[in-house]
């Protein structure tokens, strides 16, 4: 529980002036160190380092529109990294998150196309399906006590197969039909996949949603009882239960939150690209998890923040696009990506260690 308290709402309050009343046993550590010990600060510095690096190495990054592209890439990872991070703080993780995005998009597309419905009907059905997948994951984990690695690996494979087989069965092809001429598409596109102009720079709406969700997640985590429950079930399930935290409810709802994220990103993909190939999404789950871990969430649970994964996703997007902006030899692309991410994580780790050393 001590970990949980550390990540509690103590956002850098300046030390109170006036006479210090200490008995010498506990000394308040300097503000800088206390700040550095927060889970998101290491990744923040890592993200700044990566940003500055590419501002220097790649001249075209300096344009506002380039930053919009970087933020767009980050947002599609970041929106999913948020619930994945909360789930991780709650002590579980979800390998099915990548294909769940595609499941949701396929459901919405096929439901509205095959029945010739307003696309909003498909969108709502997809939400129900996504939440149900999350609930199933959570329920299985809670009921059986199996590691979430196993349970969600099972769901991952099931969804991958179902995505392909059902799409083929329903549409006769392995991709969905184009729904862009159907009723409601324009509205839905406005919500999930539009863009707007800020000082001549076209910004994608997903960036706004990403930041809004991050703000909500931060508030929930730090200011609500539910937020405390998340830290509690991830820190120590038994003692959490002993003090009256509804462990099952918390865990199942966290998995459902991941379902919600998958639905949202799935809708973005559908309304942004009009059709969906059923084989997409594989491998994305690791990127979401990576963004959360880089963002300071512990793989073992009980520790982390919602703002950290925002920087984690940003760092991933920045490195990914920065390499292209820099025009480096693309054969080395993945190697560059790996080296830069590892480097950023090491900075993160070093900052944490230095800050928490007594």
């Amino acid at each position: 529980m001590s970990m949980a308290q550390q990540a509690g709402p103590a956002v850098g309050k300046p030390p109170a002036p006036g006479p210090k009343q200490t008995d010498g046993r506990t000394t308040r550590r300097p503000l800088v160190l206390r700040l550095l010990a927060r889970p998101e600060v290491g990744v923040f510095l890592g993200a700044v380092a990566v940003l500055v690096f590419f501002e220097i190495a790649a001249p075209s990054v300096r344009q506002g529109s380039s930053m919009a592209t970087v933020l767009y890439q980050s947002s599609t990872i970041g929106i999913m990294a948020l619930p994945v991070a909360l789930l991780m703080i709650g002590g579980e993780f979800d390998l099915s998150a990548g294909v769940a995005v595609i499941t949701s998009a396929l459901t919405a597309s096929m439901f509205s196309y095959q029945l010739t419905m307003n696309v909003w009907v498909g969108v709502i059905v997809a939400l129900v399906v996504s939440l149900a997948v999350g609930a199933f994951n959570g329920w299985m984990v809670v009921k059986t006590g199996l590691p979430s690695f196993l349970v969600t690996l099972g769901t991952f494979l099931i969804l991958q197969g179902v995505n392909l087989a059902v799409t083929k069965l329903v549409t006769g092809n392995v991709a969905t039909d184009d729904i862009s001429d159907m009723d409601g598409f324009g509205q839905a596109k406005k919500v999930f996949a539009s863009s707007f102009d800020v000082a001549g720079v076209e910004v994608k709406i997903t960036v706004v949603w990403w930041l809004v969700f991050a703000a909500i997640a931060t508030w929930v985590l730090l200011r609500t009882r539910y937020g405390n429950w998340i830290f509690a079930v991830g820190g120590n399930k038994e003692s959490a239960r002993a003090v009256g935290v509804p462990v099952k409810f918390t865990k199942i709802s966290l998995f459902m939150l991941v379902g919600f994220g998958a639905w949202f990103v799935g809708m973005h993909q559908l309304f942004s690209f009009n059709t969906v190939q059923s084989g997409e999404g594989v491998g994305q789950e690791l990127i979401y998890i990576a963004a959360a871990v880089i963002g300071g969430c512990l793989l073992t649970g009980g520790y982390g923040s919602a703002i950290g994964p925002v920087f984690g996703a940003f760092m991933f997007g920045m490195v990914n696009q920065g390499i292209v902006y820099a025009g480096w030899n693309p054969d080395w692309f993945k190697a560059f990506l790996g080296v830069m991410l590892l480097g950023a994580v090491l900075i993160n780790l070093w900052v944490q260690r230095t800050a928490t050393r007594r």
């Binding site: 790649a58 075209s60 344009q63 529109s65 380039s66 592209t69 767009y72 890439q73 599609t76 509205s112 095959q114 029945l115 010739t116 419905m117 307003n118 009907v121 709502i124 059905v125 939400l127 129900v128 939440l131 149900a132 991958q160 995505n163 392909l164 092809n173 392995v174 991709a175 039909d177 184009d178 729904i179 862009s180 001429d181 159907m182 009723d183 509804p246 409810f249 973005h268 993909q269 942004s272 690209f273 009009n274 059709t275 190939q277 059923s278 084989g279 997409e280 999404g281 594989v282 491998g283 994305q284 997007g317 696009q321 292209v324 902006y325 025009g327 693309p330 054969d331 692309f333 993945k334």
Partner: protein, 339 residues
Amino acid sequence: MDRSSHSRSRRLAPFVAVAAAAALTLAGCSSSSGGKKAEEGGSNASAGKADTPRMTVALVTHQSPGDTFWDIVRKGAEAAAAKDNIKLVYSADPNAGNQANLVQNAVDQKVDGIAVTLAKPDAMKGVIGKATAAGIPVVGLNSGVSDWKKLGLLEFFGQDESVAGEAFGKKLDEVGAKKAVCVIQEQGNVGLTQRCDGMKKTFSGTTETLYVNGTDMPSVKSTITAKLKQDNSIDYVVALGAPYALTAVQSVSDAGSKAKVATFDLNKQLTGAIKNGTIQFAVDQQPYLQGYLAVDSLWLYKNNGNYSGGGEQPVLTGPAFVDKSNVDQVARFAAKGTR
């Protein structure tokens, strides 16, 4: 906390959602445009049926799940199988070792013929040897145009990726391109690299390569956008698969670039894009033909001892160019998912 009320509301939630969906349905939420209703009931071309004895053919590819291209290959193979009174056993795995196991599986089943793709020829050598030793005729399709003879295959149907790339490069010269970026959606795929290399060979302008993550469309989109912003002299984006080409069109508009888009391979949406001019042209290797001919050739071999290409030359199914001038004719078939 109040446990009972909580669990009640939780139990209710899905029902509320389903009821809401049902209510929406009843409230006349049907779409007045598009959708299944607008789809034309295209009648499938059905040829006559062979009355030769039933035979079994295994088609083993390196398809990764859910790829539109391979779906078309499979449809061609199924059409030939239906016509020839063949039982078609289809299996696929992108991992070379697993694909070899699937061929072994077909040998164990004592099928009457095997059609196989050679994306990684060395890995397939052993099992193909076993198949020929067991007296099963093996033909190749799609990938492996330079290896099929060495491995003792009877015949080969496909596109020489280098030749296709070279044709693409010449076409780029024709349309007056100066600088092209070749977008590879799968780093390390030999066939895709050959396309870009072939293009580089004949194209008199400059060619750059760009790798994107093919399983994540938003990432594909932003990576191409980034490339176009980094280098605004690029005037042609070359995609190596239909879905990526359609995404590239969005990247071009996001980047505010004037670049045009052309691609390898076709699908239903892509023919529409060629029609309305957002995509300039596509090189089609006719995957339906590859699947169809591979299966049909095994029937011909068994029943009449024929082999296409005389066992010496591959049978090329591409490159066939599709552009505004002939897209209408192709679109009819693409709409059914067979072109």
